[in-house]
C-alpha cells in the first residue's frame, strides 16, 4: 500500500543497499537499548561459565579468558528496532576457541546465552560455531563500555542484535531450543534479519 505523500527522498544516504536487510535503515551512531538498568560488572567479579544443562563444564576468570586466542571480526549489525550499522570492529574469543579450550564437542544443537542481569537469549549451536560468533571483549580496539555490554558480550552478527547478549556470563547447552527473555515476550525464536524474523508470527 503506497502511503499518500511519502517518498523515498528522506531516506538516509547509503552506499550499500545490498547490505541493508529489508525494513532496516542505515545508522551512523551506535544506539543503546536494554530492558533494564546497565549493570556495572567489575573485572574482578567477572567470570564465564560453559554449562551442559545444569552441569558446569568449565569456568574462566577474566585473566584466564583473556589468555584465550583473540580474533578480530568486523561485521554489519542489525537491530530489530530497524537500524543497521556497517563495519563494526570487534575483537574477542571465537566460540570455537572457547569450546576447544574446554575440550568440548557441542553436546546438543542448542544454547541459551546468560548475562549478569539475568537476561537470556537462545542461539542454535550452528550459528555460534565455524567462526560465526564470538564473545567480544573489545570494540574499536578498546574495552567495551558498560552501555554496549562490557566487559564481555556475545556477538552473533548475522542474527538480530538482541541475540548478541550484553554482559555475558555464560553459555548453556540445552536439549531443546528454549526461548530466552525477548523470545518469551513476543520476539522471533531465531531472528534472521534477511528473512525479517522480528516477531513471533513472522515466518
Amino acid at each position: 500500500m503506497v502511503t499518500r505523500g511519502f517518498s523515498s527522498g528522506r531516506r538516509p544516504p547509503t552506499d550499500g543497499d545490498a547490505r541493508i536487510p529489508p525494513g532496516q535503515y542505515l545508522e551512523q551512531g551506535f544506539p543503546v537499548l536494554s530492558a533494564g538498568p546497565t549493570p556495572r560488572v567489575r573485572i574482578e567479579d567477572w567470570s564465564f561459565t560453559l554449562k551442559h544443562g545444569p552441569r558446569p563444564i568449565k569456568t574462566w576468570n577474566w585473566a584466564e579468558f583473556n589468555a584465550l586466542p583473540l580474533t578480530k571480526m568486523t561485521r554489519d549489525i542489525h537491530c530489530v528496532t530497524a537500524w543497521t550499522k556497517f563495519d563494526t570492529p570487534w575483537q574477542g574469543v571465537l566460540v570455537d576457541d572457547i569450546l576447544a579450550d574446554a575440550g568440548l564437542e557441542p553436546p546438543t544443537g542448542f544454547t541459551l546465552a546468560h548475562a549478569f542481569d539475568g537476561y537470556t537469549t537462545n542461539v542454535p549451536v550452528k550459528d555460534l560455531t565455524a567462526g560465526k560468533a564470538m564473545v567480544a571483549l573489545l570494540y574499536e580496539g578498546k574495552p567495551i563500555t558498560p552501555d554496549h555490554g562490557g566487559p564481555a558480550r556475545l556477538l552473533v552478527p548475522h542474527l538480530y542484535f538482541w541475540k548478541s547478549a550484553k554482559w555475558l556470563n555464560g553459555l548453556q547447552f540445552t536439549t531443546h531450543d528454549e526461548p530466552g527473555f525477548w523470545e518469551l515476550r513476543g520476539y522471533h525464536i531465531y531472528g534472521d534479519p534477511w528473512r525479517e524474523q522480528r516477531y513471533k508470527d513472522d515466518p
Binding site: T3, R4, F6, V32, A35, G36, P37, T38, T81, D117
Partner: protein, 248 residues
C-alpha cells in the same frame, strides 16, 4: 475463503481520524484500526510507510491511549528534524490518510497483570508516552494501585499531556505527578527545576504509602541511564526497574 487468505498479514491498515498538537514538537495522531486491536498499557506499535518506488520506512512508536479505548489508538509523535518518518507525520499526514501498523508489540515494559505494590514511573520528554497509557489505564480501571510519575521536560510548554496529568493529580486518588523542568523554573509548589537525581527519586517515592514493586523508566538513553541509577541509589532493586530507551 482460501487457506492462503486465512493467513492474516501482521500488518493492518489504519486511518487517521484525529490530529491534536500537544506541544511545539509533539503531536498526537489518532488511528482507527481496521480489525480489533487489544493491547496492554506500555506496549508499542510498528508503523510502516511505503513510497511509490516501493521503498518502505518503519519505526516503532509507543501507544499513549489506554487499553480501554482501543477503538482508537493514540500515538504521540515527536518531530525529529533529521528523521524520515516523524517529519512525514508532522508535515504531510492528514485526517483520512491510511498507513500500515503492526502490533501491539513488547511484553516487558507493560502494566503488570498482578498489581503487586505501588509503581514509580519516570519519563523524559516524549518518554512519557507509554507511561501515559499506564496512567490512563489506572484511571479507567479505577485502580487503587498508588502511582507516582516523575516527568522531566525542558520547559513548561513541552510537558506533553500537561493539563490531563495535572487534572488526574488534583483528584488525589493515589496518582501523584512530579514535574521537573530542566531549563525553566518550576511552576507548581512541589515541582523541581533540575535534572532527575537521587534526592528527587527518594522524595517522589516518599509520596507512596510503601516502597514500589516496580519502576518503569522511558526516554533517551542518557535520561534512562541517569534516572535508573538515581532509582537504584534511592533503594530500588535493579531487577525491579524496567527501561525503554529510544536508543540514542
Amino acid at each position: 475463503m482460501s487457506d492462503a487468505a486465512a493467513v492474516q498479514s501482521p500488518w493492518q491498515t489504519v486511518r487517521i481520524v484525529r490530529i491534536e498538537k500537544r506541544t511545539p514538537r509533539a503531536t498526537s495522531f489518532f488511528f482507527q484500526p481496521s480489525r480489533p486491536f487489544a493491547y496492554r498499557a506500555g506496549q508499542h506499535v510498528d508503523v510502516r510507510l511505503t513510497a511509490p518506488d516501493g521503498y518502505q520506512a518503519r519505526r516503532s512508536y509507543s501507544i499513549a491511549s489506554a487499553p480501554e479505548t482501543n477503538d482508537v489508538i493514540e500515538l504521540a509523535i515527536e518531530k525529529l528534524d533529521d528523521g524520515e518518518v516523524s517529519p512525514f507525520f508532522h508535515e504531510v499526514a492528514a485526517i483520512g490518510d491510511e498507513i500500515e501498523l503492526r502490533g501491539p508489540l513488547g511484553g516487558h515494559f507493560v502494566w503488570p497483570e498482578d498489581e503487586n505494590g505501588p509503581l514509580v514511573l519516570v519519563g523524559g520528554g516524549s518518554g512519557v508516552v507509554p507511561l501515559m497509557s499506564m496512567v490512563r489505564h489506572r484511571a479507567a480501571q479505577n485502580s487503587s494501585v498508588p502511582v507516582v510519575l516523575v516527568f522531566s521536560a525542558r520547559v513548561w510548554d513541552e510537558v506533553i499531556f500537561r493539563d490531563e496529568l495535572i487534572t488526574l493529580d488534583d483528584r488525589q486518588h493515589g496518582f501523584d505527578l512530579v514535574l521537573t523542568l530542566t531549563r525553566e523554573a518550576a511552576r507548581r509548589p512541589a515541582d523541581y527545576s533540575r535534572r532527575v537525581d537521587v534526592a528527587m527519586m527518594a522524595q517522589a517515592m516518599a509520596r507512596l504509602p510503601e516502597p514500589p514493586g516496580l519502576a518503569f523508566v522511558c526516554g533517551s538513553n542518557a535520561f534512562v541511564s541517569a534516572a535508573a541509577q538515581a532509582l537504584i541509589d534511592a533503594g530500588v532493586a535493579a531487577q525491579n526497574i524496567r527501561t525503554e530507551r529510544y536508543g540514542v
